[in-house]
């Protein structure tokens, strides 16, 4: 555990060049500016959380990062290259897992889709699928269809499919928003250990401020209409995080207060 924590700290050197960067990115859809002049760099291995009131453009920012939208002006770059379309090394976990999984494929089949897209040979797939399902805590569910799985299991499955892409960056759009509190806490810890193991860069969008502080190395709060950065907080809490100890840490409480005040102010 200590090793994972060290690696995480080492990889998030503030001097490192950003892996994923928004440079003056502006996005207008239907004549309405959703995101304006967003400047934000995410360093390799960093866990960045984006919070904000509903409609502040946090999901849109994530879709820009995924290459699903193109900025109206400015740029979004990955490893220094502009993102003109989605890239295989950037995976996105959607909030609505029910819609993002193929209902006619089993759990194994859903993971397999990412491997097929990646050109992994038929003979290699079963072992990979097995390992990925084990990794997200779904061993023994390979032959189940999404409809036969709980919400938490379906979201694990979507995460497994994203990991099958062997992503350098993992974008997560309120992934636990639709899950109950207990499932959510379990998945938070699993995502932290999966990310620590893969050393992927993460952008995690959530409206749950506690979740953002608990998970992130840094939390960015967006202001609405149009979306822009309102606050940026470094989270200097020791890793690995712990559901009880971390949430009782004085620094956690200080950040939480600061973030709540910010959100309150934006809503007025």
């Amino acid at each position: 555990m200590a090793i994972a924590a060290k690696r995480q700290e080492a990889s998030v050197s503030p001097l490192a060049a950003p892996q994923l960067a928004f440079a003056d990115a502006t996005l207008a859809l239907g004549g309405k500016t959703i995101i304006e002049n967003l400047n934000l760099g995410v360093r390799p291995g960093e866990f960045l959380c984006i919070v904000g009131a509903s409609g502040c453009g946090k999901t849109t920012a994530l879709r820009l990062a995924a290459g699903l939208y193109q900025p109206t002006s400015g740029a979004v770059t990955f490893d220094g290259q502009p993102m003109l379309q989605p890239r295989r090394e950037i995976a996105i976990v959607f909030q609505d897992y029910g819609k993002a999984l193929l209902p006619w494929r089993t759990a194994a089949g859903n993971v397999s889709l990412a491997l097929e897209a990646g050109g992994i040979s038929v003979t290699e797939r079963p072992a990979r699928i097995d390992a990925l399902l084990r990794k997200v805590g779904l061993p023994g569910h390979a032959e189940k269809y999404p409809a036969e799985m709980s919400g938490g299991m379906q979201q694990r499955l979507q995460i497994a499919r994203c990991l099958a892409q062997e992503p350098k960056a993992l974008l997560m759009d309120e992934p636990f928003g639709a899950l109950d509190a207990m499932t959510r806490q379990g998945l938070q810890d699993e995502v932290l250990s999966l990310v620590a193991a893969s050393n992927a860069t993460v952008i995690f969008v959530t409206h749950d401020l506690d979740e953002a502080i608990y998970l992130g190395d840094r939390v960015v709060g967006l202001l609405p209409h149009p979306g822009r950065i309102g606050i940026e907080l470094a989270v200097n809490l020791p890793r690995p995080r712990d559901q009880l100890a971390t949430r009782e840490h004085p620094e956690f409480l200080r950040l939480r207060r600061q973030l709540f005040d910010f959100i309150k102010a934006t809503e007025q």
Partner: protein, 254 residues
């Protein structure tokens, strides 16, 4: 339970019995009507000498061949139009101009080009089957969950794989409904072509019975064709329920 299930049958059975009684009482002499008992006897005779079975084979061959060709063309076009807005707009006028042409109106042209026989009939059946499949599969492709399309973009699935692995499976339940509709149409059109001109199959059989002044045999053919249509629809409904569950049947309202 059994009484409940028998209830809907009581009216038609009663009507048949009444008609049988009336026909016997009046010693019915008609070129168009025959008592049910004679129809049953004629049907049994036609089954016994295999004439109606051979005709059924001919009609079903033309029906299924036309259905297969029409479905393939309709599906390919429907998927292409559903995916590409440009193509759809480009072809819109053409499709809307050709679609309302009653398939049977092609009969004279098809007859000149292909002559009597299976080929002409299959072409006309195929033409009739293209449209429902095209229209419904285009709509089905358009309504594929947008999130799945995004997943395929993020995974960088090549276009062919996107169609094969995402679009077709997602649209399949609704495409099957279209196929079922087309199967019904195919049988109707095949029999119509046979009645109109083509000297084979059940349609030709019914015309032959009429010209031979055999109302019993003519009506036996009619009953048989109805049974074939009913069986075909039942078969496809059961297949649909087996393959896609009850959810797909909601597409019936289309």
């Amino acid at each position: 339970m059994t009484l409940d299930r028998a209830k809907p049958l009581m009216l038609p059975i009663g009507a048949l019995l009444a008609f049988e009684g009336w026909a016997r009482a009046t010693h019915l002499q008609s070129d168009s009507l025959a008592p049910p008992s004679e129809i049953v006897a004629a049907l049994a005779g036609a089954l016994a000498d295999h004439s109606i079975l051979a005709a059924t084979r001919d009609t079903l061959f033309a029906t299924f061949a036309g259905l297969a060709i029409g479905s393939f063309i309709g599906l390919a076009l429907g998927i292409a139009f559903g995916i590409s807005d440009t193509l759809d707009r480009l072809m819109e006028v053409t499709v809307e101009a050709v679609r309302p042409v009653p398939s049977i109106a092609l009969l004279p042209i098809a007859l000149i080009a292909l002559g009597f026989g299976y080929r002409m009939e299959i072409v006309i059946v195929a033409f009739a089957c293209i449209w429902p499949i095209l229209i419904l599969s285009r709509a089905a492709v358009r309504s594929v969950e947008p999130r799945l399309m995004e997943v395929s973009r993020v995974l960088r699935l090549p276009a062919a794989q996107r169609v094969l692995k995402i679009i077709i499976p997602a649209a399949l339940p609704r495409i099957f409904v279209a196929f079922r509709l087309s199967a019904g149409i195919a049988l109707i059109v095949a029999v119509t072509v046979e009645i109109a001109i083509n000297p084979l199959g059940l349609g030709a059989g019914i015309m032959l019975a009429q010209q031979a002044l055999r109302p019993d045999l003519m009506l036996a053919y009619l009953v048989w064709i109805g049974a074939i249509g009913y069986a075909l629809n039942m078969l496809l409904t059961v297949a649909q329920r087996r393959l896609f569950g009850r959810a797909a049947l909601s597409g019936d309202s289309l």
